[in-house]
């Protein structure tokens, strides 16, 4: 394989990673910062899209599509439905003073610093091994789900049934 082409591909991967990661982080900040709850919800939808793109870069094809289908397509629809039904207004200004922004920034910096201790291991570069073409495909994940992890699978389906019934019961006007 010619050297230039390999480096070109790797550079493209880095560029795409920064684009999607930057989008994910920027919209995550939007979720926390917007006054209007619907703007927050939409920022979260875009963030989920960006994270789904990052999953696709990690060869998790099935999970990337499931992320869009379940998170961006169903859970966020539910959120936006509730916001519209409750007719929530944008929040008032006086509770978002300077001290709140300061607290938020402090939390972000401290947590990221704690995790960022990873940089101490800079001399060990954790390069990804080469994965074969069937890694992360629907077939392989499906095989695992139905053989090794069949019990959590059935359990989660019962959990979802309970959640459906619970949701209907909790939100009824009269029982």
């Amino acid at each position: 394989m010619p050297e230039g082409r390999v480096r070109g591909h790797l550079k493209m991967e880095l560029i795409f990673f920064y684009i999607f990661a930057g989008l994910a982080v920027a919209t995550a900040l939007g979720v926390v910062a917007f006054k209007n709850p619907i703007s927050s919800a939409f920022a979260l939808v875009v963030s989920f899209f960006a994270i789904s793109a990052v999953y696709a870069m990690l060869q998790a094809h099935f999970l990337a599509v499931i992320q869009v289908l379940v998170y961006a397509g169903a859970i966020m629809v539910l959120f936006i439905f509730v916001i519209m039904l409750l007719n929530l207004q944008p929040e008032e200004l006086e509770e978002r003073g300077f001290s709140t922004v300061f607290k938020g920034a402090a939390i972000v910096v401290l947590t990221a610093f704690c995790f960022g201790l990873i940089f101490l291991f800079r001399q060990m570069v954790f390069v990804f091994p080469k994965a074969d073409a069937s890694f992360g495909t629907v077939k392989e994940v499906g095989k695992l789900l139905f053989t090794t992890y069949w019990f959590p699978f059935e359990y989660v389906s019962i959990l979802l049934l309970v959640a459906i019934i619970g949701g209907v019961v909790l939100a009824k006007r009269e029982l």
Binding site: I80, F81, M84, T137
Partner: protein
């Protein structure tokens, strides 16, 4: 890279050009179903009317130049975002639809879809769930209680019938054993009796109904019901944004037809002519297709010329409109002559190494397009034939009838696959 760009641009171009054709088809089709003529006045230079096709061009120009009214106190960002979301989500689905069988070009396998995803069917479901956002945003951001109601109803209807669609797709998935659309189409083969609409009739019916509900077409038209909620969720939109919603609805219709024909009716498979057969006999196929085209144009030309002559002789309308048939007839005969010349000149057709594959791909894409247009016509036909569902009837149908039917179908398919 250029190939991928071409694979994105060409289907997009074709789809966006089918939309005016569909608008014409809807107006003329609905008119003839209702025993009237439909619009046939708009003309170019007073002569070319093409049976009302120019009206679509008129619509485009009119909608471009209309005043763009934005109501007061709307949330500007979402108001402008909603039609854009609706249209782009509808167009994104075309990335996974294959238009022809995969072929080898200079050693590389080329699939005729922009994104040969491993989880193609799931991508369809994912994008269908995203279609809800355009409608909800439009309904909410218009600062109008009627459009909020229309938007909420429409989104509730769409998410209910997404479940039905998923269940129908699961039965197809079980039969084909793969989520890639190419595999599903190839598994259907070219014999019509082996296509999925005969092997899974219940799933086909469920899918058709779910697709009607997903694209908000009659009989599931209540959210944009013209007599109840004015225009539902897009009542406050004018000119180009309304045009975008309108086009998004037709694009949904085209997507629904494309998926219906891909999943259940063999997609790009030419009936009774498999890919190997076509590639083996490419020159004969090309000759037959050319001869057929010449015949059609010749007959059309003669018919139009005779009609034109009677028009001019009896002065049917008395002005320039009489000459339209003559012009079109002459045009058709000219095309027939050109094709005849091409056929005779290239009679010993020498297709190179890739010639048969290109011919096959073109024929399969044309057959696919024909199937899409046929199902679009079925959509239009049903729209002007059936009355509208009431909202609670619609919800009851989706949850209490179609969902158990879909589950029973999956059980039956599973049992049949296991023990037959």
């Amino acid at each position: 890279m250029i190939l991928t760009l071409a694979k994105i641009v060409v289907p997009l171009f074709v789809i966006l050009n089918i939309i005016p054709l569909l608008i014409w088809l809807e107006r003329k089709g609905s008119a003839y179903i209702q025993d009237r003529r439909g619009p046939n006045r708009a003309a170019i230079f007073g002569v070319i009317r093409l049976g009302g096709l120019i009206h679509s061009l008129n619509d485009v120009i009119k909608l471009l130049f209309k005043e763009d009214i934005i109501p007061a106190r709307v949330n500007r960002f979402f108001y402008h975002l909603a039609p854009f979301t609706a249209m782009s989500v509808a167009l994104m689905t075309f990335a996974v639809i294959p238009f022809a069988a995969p072929m080898y070009w200079k050693g590389k396998l080329i699939t005729f879809q922009a994104a040969d995803l491993n989880a193609g069917l799931l991508f369809i479901l994912a994008i269908a769930s995203l279609g809800v956002y355009g409608v909800m945003l439009a309904g909410w951001s218009s600062n109008n209680k009627y459009s909020l109601l229309g938007g909420l109803r429409s989104s509730a209807q769409m998410i209910s019938y997404e479940v039905v669609m998923s269940l129908a797709i699961i039965s197809i998935l079980m039969m084909a054993g793969s989520l890639e659309l190419n595999q599903i189409i190839q598994a259907q083969g070219d014999k019509v009796w082996k296509w999925n609409f005969l092997r899974q009739p219940v799933a086909c019916l469920l899918f058709i109904v779910a697709m009607f509900a997903e694209s908000n077409r009659l009989p599931f038209d209540l959210p944009e019901g013209e007599s109840e909620l004015v225009a539902g969720f897009h009542v406050e939109y004018s000119s180009m944004k309304f045009a975008l919603f309108f086009m998004a609805e037709y694009t949904h219709m085209i997507i629904a037809s494309a998926f219906l024909s891909a999943l259940f009716f063999g997609g790009w498979q030419v009936p009774f002519a498999s890919t190997e057969f076509l590639r083996g006999h490419a020159s004969q196929v090309l000759r037959i297709v050319l001869a057929g085209a010449i015949l059609v144009h010749f007959v059309a030309g003669i018919g139009l010329l005779s009609r034109g002559k009677t028009n001019v002789l009896t002065q049917k309308w008395g002005d320039r409109r009489d000459y339209e048939a003559i012009i079109l007839g002459n045009g058709a005969l000219l095309i027939a002559l050109l094709l005849g010349a091409v056929l005779l000149y290239f009679w010993p057709i020498r297709l190179g190494r890739y010639g048969p594959q290109i011919v096959t791909a073109a024929l399969q894409a044309a057959v696919f397009l024909g199937k899409i247009l046929f199902f679009c016509w079925v959509f239009i036909w049903v729209r002007w034939t059936l009355p509208r569902f009431r909202y609670d009837q619609l919800m009851r149908l989706g949850w209490k009838f179609m969902l158990p039917l879909g589950l029973a179908n999956i059980l039956a398919t599973g049992a049949a696959l296991l023990w037959l």
